[in-house]
Symmetry: C2
Subunit: 259 residues, 2 copies
Amino acid sequence: MIGLFDSGVGGLTVVRALLKSAPQADFVYLGDTARTPYGNKTQETVERYAAEDARYVIKHGAQLVIVACNTASALALPKLQEAFPAVPFIGVVKPAAKAAVEIAKRRVGVIGTRATVNSGIYDKVIHKYGEKLEVLQQACPLFVPLVEEGMVEDQITKIMIRRYLTPLRQANVEALILGCTHYPFLQPAIQRFMGKKVHVIDSASVVIKQAMEEYPQLFTAKETLSQHIAFTDTSPLLDRLATKWLGRPVKAEHASLSS
Amino acid sequence: MIGLFDSGVGGLTVVRALLKSAPQADFVYLGDTARTPYGNKTQETVERYAAEDARYVIKHGAQLVIVACNTASALALPKLQEAFPAVPFIGVVKPAAKAAVEIAKRRVGVIGTRATVNSGIYDKVIHKYGEKLEVLQQACPLFVPLVEEGMVEDQITKIMIRRYLTPLRQANVEALILGCTHYPFLQPAIQRFMGKKVHVIDSASVVIKQAMEEYPQLFTAKETLSQHIAFTDTSPLLDRLATKWLGRPVKAEHASLSS
C-alpha cells in the first residue's frame, strides 16, 4: 500500500501520474482540505500538519509515503523521517531536482509557493547534484487559486504567467521545475510562454518514476484492489473537482486527524 | 474587553474600524492564519473552527464577541450562540443587511466568498427587514488572494472586478454589500466601477457601529489599555501585513487553540 498526502486537492496530480503508470497499485491519498493551503504558512505549522497527515496514511496501511505536496516536501521532510523512522518517505523536491540536473547545463528555473521558494530547498538540492548550475526561483502565489477556479486558459492566467515567468524566460533557463502540485494544470500555457526549447519538469510525474524504481513491489497488482481518497473537509464541490482531475468518479471519505 | 476573530488577517479591517471609532477600547483579536481561508470550506468545518476561535477570545476575557469574518457569521452564528450562551455574539451579516435595507428601494447586491454566497444568508436576512427587495449575489473567490498579494489597484484586479460585478452593475443595484472582510481594501476600485450612485456598504464599519450602539460601555477608555492581536500561525510577513493595514506596529502573539 502506497500512502500519499497533500495540503488539498493539488496532490491528485500525483495520483493521476500514479494511475497512469500503475493503474492497479494500492494507495491511500489524504488531502488536508480543511487546512489548505500550506503555501503561505510557516515551517512549524507545515511540519505539524504534515506529521498528522503522514500518521493518517500510515495508520491506513501505507508502507511508503509519497509527500505529494511541494511545500511539505520543502519544509517538513526531515521531521517526517524522524517522526516515522520505520516508513520510507519520498518527497517531490529531490526527483524534480535530479531531472533538472540531467537536462540543464547552465540554468534551471523553479516556480512554487512562497513557502517553497523561501525555503531555498530547490536551490540547495539542485546544487548538490549539479554544483555549477545557476538556479532562478520565482514564487507564483496566484497560480493555486487560479487553478482551483478552473481558470487554466483564462486571460488573467496568461497575464500572470507572463508576469511571473518573464525573468526566467529572459535568463534562458533550460529546464523549469513546476514546484507545486497544482501547476501541471498550467503546463500547456507555461510551455507555450517559455517556448519549446525549455524542458518543463512536472514534479508529479518524476516522483512516481523514482518511487517505482526504488519500490517496484509496491506498484504491482494485488488480488484485490484497494484505492482510497480521503479529505479532511469533504464536499460535493471537491468530489466534482477530483472527479474531473482524475477522470474517474471520486467520492472522498472524511478523515479526522489526530496529533 | 471586546473579542474579535476572523479566519485570518482580513478581520483586521474590523479592528481598523474599531480603532477609528474607539481608539481606547480594550480588545483581543484572533486571526486563524494556520487554517485560513474559511471561504471555500464546509459549514461543519467552519462551525468547528469558529467555536475554537470564540473559545480563545472568551478565555482571554471577551465579554462580547464580534465575528469579524463573513463566512463564519454566515455559517456558524447559531452554533456559536448555542455553545457560549453567556456571551453575546455579533456577526457582520445583520448590520450590513440592515444598512442595505435603509438605503435600497429595489435591488441590493452582495459579494462574498463562495461559502458565504452559497449559504444564502444575506438573501434571508435582507428579506427579513425588506421583504420586497431583490437580492443579487455574486461569489468573488479571487478577491481574497488578490488582496493578500497587495494587488488592490492592479490591472488583474480591475479585470476581475469587471467580470464579477458587471451583472450587478447592469441590474442597477442601489446598494452593494462587501460581504467579506478583505474587500474594503478593494472599495475604491469597486466604487469606481459601480459608479457614484451605488452605496457600497463595508461590513467592517457597520458591525462596529451596531456593537457600539448595543454595548457602549465596552467601548470606553479604561485605566489601563489592553489591546492584543494573536494569530494561530505567526510570521514576520503577517506582522508586516498587519502593521501596514492597521497603520501601527503589530507583533502578533502565537495562539494555540483547543477544541
